[in-house]
């Protein structure tokens, strides 16, 4: 929230009919609520406006005429109206808020579900923080619009209408006189809104700056201290803090001016009523009760108009947020499923890459004319330097991206003819950087799939050798995994991800071996686990361990997106190419030992 995201700072117009139409489409399922809310609003507004009228009656008809009984009666009526108003006001608020919350819920889940469908291309290009903001804060800022904004606008309008009706019915001349301050109020309000919005934007800017500075420098505190820059950072903080203070003091000015002006105008209206109404009373053309009523009516009139500026802000934020939300909902960066997908019967796990060309960005090919095939049950090791295109091969087989040219086939069927979920159900993937979700060890192995039983989880953990450390944890398989898996060591996290891959029992396994150096014992566990994982399934391994490479059926030497050498360990040795050189080096070393 603290970052200064330019895209998130832009506020545009307060009303855009296209956006509003789309926003209202989310209200549609709750049409009944809206109709009910409007009806209640009309009643509440009327009850509110009728009170000064009743008080006028009390004064003119009963107090002035010394009618005790009438006074009691009208007091009871007043109280009954008040009770009734209070009760329906409660339900009005409750139901409009409920509607707002429901709409927000619908929108949020819809947005999240949409993001799930987007392809990795979108995630590559968009900072995660920004997508999170869309789903959380942007949706949140629509809450006000739906839960109070829309309904409140109706309520204000009805209230103004009722008051005007009553006032004009009573004394139309006095109405015009007392409302003569309104233009000034409206002008002041809009001027205030504009100024405050600018000032507020300034405040937000400085607050964001202050927060992001603090956040960043708390994270980098050790650098500050290691370089003895405490004094300098104190000064910089002081400057930012000062700017924040100034922007706040600047915004105080507008509030300090606006609120007293409203009070002065309100008193001016009273003064006008006294002057004009008083004259009428003296001349006997008006009763004193009307004066009482008018004083109250003008007071009531002020609130909705003063709040108009607030409504405007709600609308404006809502429009800006909804524009961003709709932009995301309209994003169609997706890998499309075929209309009639071919089913995978008795899937065996043959993989064929045929003249595959692939680029993440237009013509910048990371894979050039790649062809190789892996028979069911075989293991292929891919070796190559960073940037050779190893990870791209993984991404393509899972159909995270579509290729530019060529074909990728499994069991002879083109990937594009199979539904993504069918394909991916056959493939397990183990990435170098293990990603663990908040939850338990269990939920990280079965990823929440209830069809995978506890026994199966333990079984898989045993096979990959993870059970021994898991059973030592205080809560064993129910041990909580904290944010980013901070409680487990690197090696342990890898074992968990192996168990995850195994428990889904895939026909094809994709493994990106980790390079991180772990202690000898864990290294042994990992080596053994890998051996067990590979048994009986088609495996594509980005290999860093000599043992994995030597034991594979086929080795592919990849360089800058091209296959340089391919073959078995023996074949590549006789070829006396790159692989041979590498091997020789290792061999020499082994002799030395």
């Amino acid at each position: 929230m603290a970052d200064l995201n330019v895209e998130d700072e832009i506020l545009g117009k307060a009303y855009d009919s296209k956006l509003m139409k789309r926003l209202l489409s989310f209200v549609k399922p709750y049409k009944k609520y809206v109709v009910l809310a409007i009806i209640i609003n009309i009643v509440v507004a009327a009850l509110l406006a009728i009170r000064p009228l009743l008080i006028k009656v009390a004064i003119d008809d009963y107090i002035v005429n010394s009618n005790y009984k009438g006074l009691i009666t009208i007091s009871v009526v007043l109280f009954a109206a008040l009770m009734f108003q209070a009760v329906i006001q409660y339900f009005l608020t409750y139901y409009t808020q409920l509607m707002g919350q429901n709409i927000i819920y619908d929108l949020r889940v819809k947005l999240f579900a949409h993001v799930q469908k987007l392809s990795l291309k979108y995630f590559d290009k968009t900072p995660i923080g920004r997508i999170v903001t869309r789903v959380t804060n942007d949706v949140e800022s629509l809450e006000e619009l739906f839960s109070s904004g829309i309904v409140m606008i109706f309520s204000d309008v009805f209230q103004i209408v009722w008051i005007l009706i009553f006032m004009f019915a009573m004394e139309w001349e006095l109405t015009l006189v007392s409302l003569s301050v309104l233009p000034i109020l409206i002008y002041a309000t809009f001027l205030f809104r504009k100024k405050v919005r600018e000032a507020y934007r300034d405040v937000r800017f400085h607050l964001a700056r202050l927060n992001s500075y603090t956040q960043e420098h708390i994270t980098g505190m050790s650098i500050i201290q290691l370089f003895s820059k405490e004094k300098k950072e104190k000064e910089i903080f002081s400057e930012i803090n000062e700017a924040h203070k100034k922007s706040n003091i600047n915004s105080i000015f507008y509030y300090a001016v606006f609120y007293p002006i409203v009070e002065i105008l309100s008193s001016a209206a009273v003064a006008l009523i006294i002057w004009y109404g008083g004259g009428n009373i003296i001349q006997g053309t008006m009763t004193i009760g009307v004066l009482f009523a008018f004083i109250q009516y003008t007071e009531m009139f002020f609130r909705p108009i003063r709040d108009l500026s607030e409504k405007y802000n709600i609308m404006q934020t809502a429009m800006a947020s909804s524009e961003r939300i709709f932009k995301l909902l309209d994003n169609n960066t997706m890998i499309q499923d075929p209309e009639v997908p071919k089913a995978l019967y008795n899937f065996r796990g043959n993989v064929d890459f045929k003249n595959v060309w692939f680029a993440y960005n237009s013509d910048d090919y990371v894979l050039k004319d790649i062809s190789f095939s892996v028979n069911a049950g075989e293991t292929v090791a891919i070796v190559g330097a960073t940037g050779a295109g190893k990870s791209s091969i993984i991404n393509l087989l899972n159909r995270f991206y579509d290729i530019n040219r060529g074909n990728i086939l499994v069991d002879g069927i083109d990937l594009r003819e199979i539904s993504k979920s069918d394909l991916r159900n056959q493939i397990s993937i183990v990435l170098q950087d293990v990603f663990l979700f908040s939850g338990t060890i269990s939920s990280n192995i079965n990823l929440g799939d209830e069809s995978i039983t506890k026994e199966q989880i333990i079984e898989a953990a045993k096979i990959v050798g993870a059970d021994s450390f898991i059973s030592k944890l205080p809560n064993q398989y129910d041990e909580e995994v904290k944010e980013k898996g901070a409680t487990l060591s690197v090696g342990q996290k890898q074992l968990v991800s192996f168990a995850r891959a195994l428990v889904f029992n895939p026909r094809i396994l994709i493994l990106d071996e980790a390079t991180s150096s772990v202690d000898t014992e864990t290294e042994m566990l990992i080596q053994n686990a890998i051996k067990k994982l590979l048994v009986g399934r088609t495996s594509i391994v980005i290999a860093h361990r000599l043992s994995t490479i030597q034991n594979s059926d086929k080795i592919i030497v990849l360089h800058k997106g091209e296959i340089k050498e391919v073959g078995t360990h023996q074949q590549l040795l006789t070829k006396k190419g790159i692989y041979f050189k590498l091997y020789q080096l290792q061999y020499k070393d082994q002799e030395l030992k």
Binding site: Q215, L272, R500
Partner: protein, 582 residues
């Protein structure tokens, strides 16, 4: 609540402005409460002494009084609220200065988010107390006293009747806002759960997609969102009571006024003008009544926030200068001696370093290798005094490290930490972070050693390029090389590289090492690395395992031993050669 008294030092600094503010409140309130009295007189005039001139006079007086009151209302905000912002500034400043003093351990054990919560929420809550709460308390108190006094003077009985409902309103506001605050905390918690869940989901999208868990994730997210909605509705159930209660209670007051006041008029005990004045006074008292309950909550929250802030203030400053500090030490040369050094993070945790003794002569290079978690980083953190030893001593140039002034030590130790941290500032400011003045020659010199020149020339703005979210994102290797340049720029006597080339390719690393060798000729360096190629030329290599030095010697000597070092060496050959070959 005595805790809030600790804030008095902040108030004292702004004594003058605050007293003025209180004076303004007094003037504004006095003029404001005078308006209904004029209204009363004018209404009574209609009946007793009808005169247009008199009425016009009254109308003008009302307007003038309103202007005077309004002007002082403006002055109140310009004094009291402005002071509250000034105090907020002071509180933030004190907080930050204190943070700067806290030790590395504190920041390791406390999440940034947690500290940020104090910096934003808690300081915000305290400001609400020093600003609005103080303003409204004074305003409310003054207004209450004057208004009630006037009302009593008009009619004691009517005053009692019409004011009875108001304390009930205060009570409800207090109770309800307290409950709402609790519910609100629950809502915030759920909101942060949702944020975390979204964050995790999007970060782990590869795993989710490849295991076809999208539907499950959506369901999980919908469940959390639904809980969030429920918690919101829990709050709304209470919050929705506010407006009706407000209407009901203030409305009851007015009805009582009409009923009882009306009776008294009929009985000739009061005039219509009295009723009008009362009506106005009730209107004046409603907001203060609400504010009363509201302020009570603010005070409670400020107290709780202050308590949390004080736990930070009472945090022990572990590494600081004390009686041992010898201020006559102004420079260091670079001979490092570890004498039976042991170190553990906490009393009940095992020792990370166990009885280590070692000498690193000035100008030599020590390399440390070993698996993850064997204490390599702890070792170098002791040299820069991010932590202090638990047992034993470290000497630099024969002087105990604790006697060297902290800034002298750190200004001479150039550290490249494992986690590359750069500020979102220009490249130049990042590299020259440790020195006072801009030094172009030094900038280019260290950039050249760190092999950054070529990268920099590719940036459109060269050294003025801004890093981080608002600028460009450097690759891992570029970040590490920038951190190296930053450490070199302070012209250190001791250079520490904590696995600083892990993301730099072998070829670039070799070039850096060659250039570094010359730069480091008379300086001491400690290099931690997983790569044998980085450490093989060091004068002395130690292999740490389980907190002790398992192997020690030169590259050749260690290979002869055929133990841990040899193992690591062997494992890496394949990959390194691959990179070199291709």
């Amino acid at each position: 609540m005595t805790r809030l008294l600790t804030l008095n030092k902040y108030f004292k600094r702004n004594k003058g402005k605050l007293s003025l503010g209180i004076l303004f409140i007094l003037i504004s309130d006095l003029t404001q409460v005078y308006i209904p009295l004029v209204l009363k007189d004018s209404i009574d005039t209609f009946k007793n002494n009808p005169s247009i001139d008199l009425i016009i006079n009254y109308a003008i007086i009302i307007f003038v009084l309103a202007v005077v009151s309004g002007f002082f209302r403006y002055m109140i905000r310009q004094t009291i609220i402005v002071v509250s912002r000034k105090i907020e500034f002071d509180i933030r400043q004190d907080f930050w200065v204190h943070l700067l003093k806290l030790s590395h351990r504190y920041f390791q054990n406390t999440s940034t988010g947690n500290i940020m919560a104090h910096a934003t929420n808690d300081i915000g809550a305290v400001r609400m107390y020093v600003g609005p709460a103080v303003m409204y308390s004074i305003d409310t108190a003054i207004k209450f006293i004057i208004v009630i006094a006037i009302m009593l003077s008009i009619s004691p009985i009517l005053t009692v009747y019409t004011l009875i409902p108001l304390p009930i309103l205060s009570y409800f506001v207090y109770k309800l806002s307290k409950k709402i605050h609790k519910k609100f905390t629950l809502i915030q918690e759920k909101f942060s759960d949702i944020t975390t869940m979204a964050q995790e989901n999007f970060s782990g999208i590869r795993i989710i997609k490849s295991y076809v868990r999208e539907a499950f994730e959506i369901e999980k997210f919908a469940k959390e969102s639904s809980e969030y909605r429920k918690r919101n509705m829990d709050k709304i159930k209470i919050q929705a009571l506010f407006t009706p209660l407000l209407f009901l209670i203030t409305g009851t007051s007015i009805i009582l006024l009409i009923l009882i006041g009306g009776n008294m008029i009929i009985d000739g005990k009061l005039t219509l003008g009295d009723i009008a004045a009362f009506m106005f006074y009730l209107g004046l008292l409603i907001w203060p009544t609400i504010a009363f309950g509201w302020v009570a909550n603010i005070i409670q929250q400020a107290d709780a926030s202050l308590k949390r802030l004080q736990t930070i203030y009472s945090e022990d400053i572990e590494i600081k200068e004390n009686a041992e500090t010898d201020n006559s030490i102004t420079e260091i040369k670079g001979t490092i001696k570890f004498e039976n050094v042991s170190f553990k993070y906490r009393d009940n945790l095992p020792e990370v370093l166990n009885n280590i003794s070692l000498i690193v002569p000035q100008g030599s290079t020590l390399a440390i290798v070993g698996h993850t978690g064997v204490g390599k980083t702890s070792f170098v953190n002791l040299v820069s005094r991010l932590f202090d030893v638990t047992a034993g001593n470290i000497f630099i140039d024969g002087k105990n490290i604790k006697s060297i002034p902290l800034n002298v030590l750190r200004e001479n130790v150039g550290m490249v930490p494992q986690e590359t941290f750069l500020f979102s500032d220009t490249l130049q400011n990042n590299i020259l972070y440790g020195i006072e003045k801009t030094d172009e020659i030094m900038l280019h010199k260290v950039a050249e050693i760190a092999q950054l020149t070529k990268d920099v020339n590719n940036f459109p703005k060269k050294f003025e390029t801004i890093l981080g979210e608002r600028g460009i994102t450097l690759s891992g290797g570029q970040k590490q090389r920038t951190c190296l340049a930053r450490a070199l720029a302070i012209n250190p006597k001791i250079l520490i590289l904590d696995d600083s080339f892990s993301a730099v390719d072998t070829k670039t690393e070799e070039e850096i090492l060659v250039k570094l060798k010359e730069f480091m000729k008379d300086r001491t360096s400690i290099i931690i690395s997983h790569r044998i190629s980085t450490v093989k030329d060091a004068d002395n290599i130690i292999v740490l395992d389980n907190g002790i030095i398992k192997e020690q010697g030169t590259h050749e000597e260690l290979l002869e031993m055929s133990e841990i070092y040899y193992d690591i060496h062997f494992k890496q050959l394949l990959e390194e050669e691959l990179e070199r070959e291709l």
